[in-house]
Symmetry: C2
Subunit: 216 residues, 2 copies
DNA sequence: CTCCACATGTTGTCACTGTCAACATTAAGA
DNA sequence: TCTTAATGTTGACAGTGACAACATGTGGAG
């Protein structure tokens, strides 16, 4: 594994192209962002980087692998956004709401990227362990925050994993609705986001006797 | 528009191929179901129907149009499932839960089809009015049921549209999680479904003072 | 019944794509 | 220095979606 120039000892190109893998990922993401996934072509990525069409195959097994890597990066930055919202918000109930808002905001601001992230299966047996691990990492940020709120007695002490999945499903669903253009205008998106976090927290917080069974 | 043989007056082929459009749709859906969207090829659809590769273009503008038609049919049958669950369940709170279960069940049982339905934009300006209309129809089934529950005093009298969007987002999110393989086994799918409908209804039903603002 | 216009299906062809095999070049270590 | 593996290039190929030109059967006008 040849490493990057890093320290800047030699400012000229450290290799044939510098580090190409990084460039391929960036360029792929830029194209996806600008024109959508299905307009992404390996040849144009290479051309745009001043490199030939098949250079890519030294860094990714095939197109799916490239897309998986793009998706992996998406989950990584998503997790960063979530953790930032949680920490900067003060790790309380409001911070949890901020996490939800951050999630939806990320999905809307990077809709094409987001679609790649959830376009195919995330089963590790299908997509490879890296993507699955990074997706699990992003989910873990939610689990941790939720667990913290449970310990503080702010959220019902149901099975943490199930509750987290529920919350994840809600924000993911809202994001999808927004991305797919089923919410007419930004106002309705904002309204739904607000309503969602309100109703969601009313559903999972403490302070009310439960009629049904918790079900782990 | 040459109509189908229908009454069976003349059992021999009424036209070049009978009605091809129907066959194309069925075959496309079958392929999608069996091998996934990206393995769908126009040529093979034609071949499999004993028809040549470009016959399709007399019935659909291009591949995207075919996929849009497939998605349109998906929303139609989804609506049928939802309405059946609502009516047969007795149009009460339990029937509403049954709608949610039916939705998730449909998504899981027809995961590839479901992915096509939500793969691209549903904005009528992008995908054409038919798909948008059918998607809106499926959503309307949910709105109607919810409105009925609101009139019966079972669900909070918040803005119906916003509440419906919220519910839609939740079931859609759960479906996506299940489809993407993020729920390890059927047990956890069932558990999340149950937990979801329980927490969801706790969040939107009446009988609790609201802290925040309703926000229409 | 005849005949023509039109809907429907076919053949030929094209640009483009992902992918592989064979070859060229450069960095890095012995 | 010289080898070796990593990295990038060229040529090629089978498939794909799509279009234009052509063929064929249907149904209605006369």
């Amino acid at each position: 594994m040849a490493k990057i120039a890093g320290k800047g000892r030699k400012p000229r190109r450290p290799y044939h192209h510098g580090n190409l893998r990084r460039g391929l990922l960036d360029e792929a993401l830029a194209t996806i962002r600008a024109e959508g996934v299905d307009r992404l072509t390996l040849r144009e990525i290479g051309t745009r980087l001043g490199v030939s069409r098949t250079a890519l195959y030294r860094h990714f097994a095939d197109k799916r692998a490239l897309l998986a890597a793009v998706a992996t990066e998406g989950f990584r930055t998503l997790r960063q956004h979530l953790e930032a919202a949680w920490v900067e918000g003060g790790r309380n109930r409001e911070a949890f709401e901020a996490m939800g808002t951050a999630y939806i905001r990320f999905a809307i601001a990077n809709s094409s990227h987001y679609r790649v992230m959830f376009g195919g299966s995330i089963d590790p047996k299908v997509c490879g362990p890296e993507l699955a691990a990074e997706a699990a990492g992003a989910f873990q940020a939610l689990v941790d925050a939720l667990s913290s709120l449970q310990r503080a007695g702010i959220v019902r002490a149901d099975d943490t994993l199930t509750t987290a999945r529920y919350v994840w499903a809600v924000v993911h669903g809202v994001s999808m609705l927004a991305i797919n253009g089923q919410l007419p205008d930004p106002v309705s998106i904002d309204g739904l986001t607000r309503y969602t976090s309100d109703r969601l927290l009313t559903g999972i917080d403490v302070g009310r006797a439960l009629s049904g069974a918790p079900r782990g």
